[in-house]
Symmetry: D2
């Protein structure tokens, strides 16, 4: 059985991450044919050649459209800046390729809608790169909730915080431009929304506050430039079924590096998780004698599937890149017609819709139904 032919557009942060996943998925899982790394596209031929050697691709090109015509390619990874996702993903789908596109879909809602429509039309697998849902911990939390381990969920809080925009002395760059989006909301909050969507479903109504920790930032020329979007967003939400939720996102949160902190409260217990300690979660169950009740810190183990495909011993720990390998395996499964744990373009569109509703609720200072 010959493996899928892979094309990769972009080799930066997430491009390399995709490449590592395509490299490692067969050895890790042992149940899929080894993908063939056919060709890679970069901004110019020289960069492409160098990166193809590094990342193990057989061919390379300075023109991403070359991948569309390559009959050896079955799947195209789109890992370029957000502004390019729509054009590339739509073209790939129209060329009959499956698409694995990094999140978010696109800065403009209309482009996201275009992507979702193209996926529907093409009948190809079109998956968004929401890797955090692939954490065995998140999958297990979903199982626990479904089993009723904490009873009926009635309240959720989720926080996503990093500090890459926290330094007020850092030079103004494109992430502070209005054209790049709302700020924390789409840069970031899409990740917690992806978690909420697999655990509880999508928001029904929202009201957001957004804020600028720094009104302006210095420029290279020595002056200062007005910040055009918001590093901070806080949102009150009602989810499907009426569950009250709060979402907080802050990309200027000093000290936070990769925080995605979940608090889930139910009628029989509670669950806590933080992506900064991605190999553990905490579970409180209101049963037994009160004198021994507490949050149990559980370390991931082979029994938390598919941790077992990586390591046969408990507590040894997966890494961030391993989540992409799991996502890759799910994508292959989807292509093979298996039921897969992924966020496809239709689900991805719903996340974008939530983000835009939040932004509107801030502008109009009122609750908005999504």
């Amino acid at each position: 059985m010959s493996g899928l032919g892979i094309g990769l557009i972009g080799t930066g942060y997430m491009g390399k991450c995709h490449a590592l996943a395509w490299n490692g998925v067969a050895s890790t899982f042992g149940d899929v044919a080894r993908p063939r790394l056919v060709s890679l596209a970069e901004v110019d031929a020289e960069t492409a050649t160098r990166k193809a050697a590094e990342l193990g691709f057989a061919k390379s090109t300075g023109n991403w459209r070359d991948l569309l015509d390559d009959p050896d390619i079955d799947v195209i990874s789109v890992t370029t800046p957000n502004a390019f996702h729509a054009e590339m993903a739509v073209a790939a789908l129209e060329a009959g390729k499956h698409v694995w596109c990094e999140k978010p879909m696109a800065p403009a809602l209309v482009d996201a809608e275009r992507m979702a429509a193209a996926a529907r039309r093409a009948g190809k697998v079109a998956v968004m790169g929401y890797n955090y849902i692939q954490n065995p911990v998140i999958r297990h939390i979903r199982t626990l909730i479904q089993e009723g381990a904490i009873g009926a969920v009635n309240h959720v809080r989720v926080e996503m915080d990093e500090d890459f925009m926290a330094d007020p002395q850092a030079l103004f760059y494109w992430k502070s431009e209005a054209s790049s989006g709302y700020g924390a909301l789409d840069d970031f909050a899409v990740h917690p929304l992806s978690l909420l969507s697999v655990l509880f479903g999508h928001p029904k109504s929202v009201i957001a506050d957004m804020a600028k920790p720094y009104a302006e930032r210095p420029t290279a020329a020595g002056g200062a430039r007005k910040v055009e979007n918001h590093d901070l967003a806080s949102v009150l939400m009602r989810l499907e079924g009426g569950v009250s939720a709060v979402l907080m996102a802050n990309r200027s949160a000093w000290g936070r590096k990769s925080r995605i902190a979940l608090q889930i409260y139910g009628s029989k217990g509670a669950i806590l998780f933080d992506q900064e300690r991605m190999n553990e979660f905490e579970l409180y169950q209101a049963s037994g004698r009160s004198t021994e009740q507490g949050f149990a810190r559980v370390l991931t183990a082979p029994a938390h599937k598919p941790y077992d495909r990586f390591i046969p011993a408990p507590g040894h720990g997966l890494g961030f890149n391993d989540l992409k390998i799991i996502e890759c395996r799910e994508l292959i499964g989807a292509i093979q017609g298996e039921s897969a744990h992924v966020i496809d373009f239709q689900q991805g569109l719903r996340i974008e819709q939530s983000v835009h509703a939040m932004a509107r609720s801030f502008v109009e200072r009122r609750w908005i139904d999504v």
Copy 2:
């Protein structure tokens, strides 16, 4: 020098806590005259007699008004259920006594206003029992913020969670009645508001969501009764100076016992605190080499005043009751004309105003200016 004469109304949870503070304050601080525990009032004379023996009061009475006329009494502690605060505090002030009243002021805003007016008229010291502001950690956080240790604060999150209402099978009781108040908002959220007020000032505008985890609760008779207020409240806020803040309160939060979790983000760092681990805080400062930057967990020590009055060695830990002893010392200081770290009736009223504004914002589904 003879110490202040003390009258105590109520000997339950907080009444005993006041008694312990009046007992211990002189020995602990060593710089004030030993208070004289003059008389104690309870619901009936027999209970009063028994409690006076237990708590070290010289006299007792089944009629709290007896304390008003007692010339030996300088200060009256009011620790009865919230519905009685206004009547007792106003009467005590009008009788020329200083008043130490447990929080919150009163279920109805008009009663809180009456208390604040009485305090202004009487010219006596009138202090609310917001003990958490007395934690040496909170005092030190205030100092750190004032010193600019984390730069200009731009975002605050505060969560207050306990689980005493978390069991859906627990029988309906008065805390779920509308007459007892809004639920989490006034039962609870006044504590985080007290912290915000000493650290950053009062909210300027708010919008709240409130929720009922359980629509009804069982009754002793075997049926069920509709829950009339909200165990859950989440609030978006803007503080003085425009700082964005989120306040979350949940008295049905399984696993949480005494959580008051603060996250304070500034332009140069961040501070974390949780009352469940009341003897420590975490400080992140964005200075020095990045490879060693992290949240430093600092244990309280004699240098965090007035910890030194309790224990001369670091890390040994204060307890919940010790906060009341500090509050007691501050109250005595206020009576002696010193500058004191307390929330008086005027500040207390502002907290109540915030709570009522939050409740209104929920009903009207819009932002409300406080």
Copy 3:
């Protein structure tokens, strides 16, 4: 019912702690007669007068022997430096007083033996101030072990670390003199030994290593002086029943403030505790589904007796001084003929014997039976 008459010798760190306990025990527990603070002895009459006023004692004296003759005094608290314990405790016992003596007994084993003999002869209550055993957490751990919650215990590790000797630039002082004792072993390790003794019994055989982090320390005169004892001690032990244990003590451990960390491993689970977070413990029980097994962090609550005598709500936290109040209540119980949870002079002597055996095992570089 008239309360016990109390005499106090010493008003430093632990003297004040005793005074606070005598002040607070009746109000806290509500089931014992209020102790009468009769008289207090200090190094001179003036200090004694001042301290008596501060701490609420009726009389004072510059000569501790005055307390022996005072017929109003039933119990004498001995809180002076270790070198004075034997003389004072023996005299007090011989004068017919009950004695509450701070730990350890005395630098020389012969003095500790003298104290134990005097207690036996006098037939009075003679209790050592091992306060950490009074923590409701420790009491609950004992219950858990007795109930078999973690099966048969097979391994124990205990660490006691502080950093008050960690600074190599701090001036040489008496704690580094040979005459003050072995160093970490008796200054310190007696505390973990007190915990082991109530949880598992005393060591049967031991071998210790001891070390000097700093060979010399600066003197005020500008030179340096050789350090004469050991800030560091590590001990392999076998407890009663053959359980293997490791005890580690370090008073030069930067960053540690009041660490007494216990790890207890059994055939069905494990228990963790650290005095720096004295209001919680962690329990792992190997039962149920493996995917939810983890160390549960349990916060103390009213159900962990006698926490309920201090606070009726869970997770609010006791402090270091509260442990002394519990100890005081146990002492009163012992005097009243109740079964009490204390370490008396006979048990205290066994702790001293262990310490001296450890020191000998270091000198002789071999295992020593205690």
Copy 4:
């Protein structure tokens, strides 16, 4: 440039881990030629064929000696049970191959010596699979120590605990046989010794206690069989330079999954680490104002090399398998003549010598010089 030709013996736990590393090293680091996965040996040809397909090897064999003669193979990974290491590693070296052998070297010291001698003779690169030393955290701790960030180190504690032998009801298996080794000491303690060796050097003198939590274990036949080695070992040590250290190992430690906990105390600070949270460490530095001093929890980031080769953002986390990729890169570096951070067979032999000295100190109940 053509990459190294790789042969792999064994495809179990660590065999797969090696395969993942050989697969991923070039894409991850981008600075070495892509290894060629030439051939793989398993216990029979059929298994070998299946595993070669899974793990991406071009050829396979049921006879590991076939790899010795294969001119395409430059390096052989030895990942079979410990008893086979010596024979295979020596044969590979004698066949002119570089060797990457899993730890420990061999149950018998004489075999380890044979391996070290063969490596010296062959002049080939011979590296032990001590992966934990490759953690960027460990590397950074080494840098911190070398820079004097915590001053002169004077005390070290290291604990290695897992619970795979903790269940007394689990059936007796070969790990409890004397022929498999001493138990925790060689199964396990070699890992902490590898860390000590790169951070501080090797032990100079040791005394160990060893214990059997369970004297016997059930057999499949329904009876019980005596346990022949020790699941528990505790060791007092002096390291090079006189530093006092304690090593504790327990493979019956309920609740511990992959604990390797380091405590390092110096004259200016302290460092903490636990492999169960492998992406963070804690640093205490005794500088600045005491009121802000605490253990800073530092998350790994690109600045902690070579984390940057995996992920360009901080706090996202490496996994256990990533450590093997780093080790693989170091191995390739060693083959290329670069200075490499590895434990070669000579250093590995010193670790084995320490283990055997510890075992002897237990039997002879005395300190042993290594």
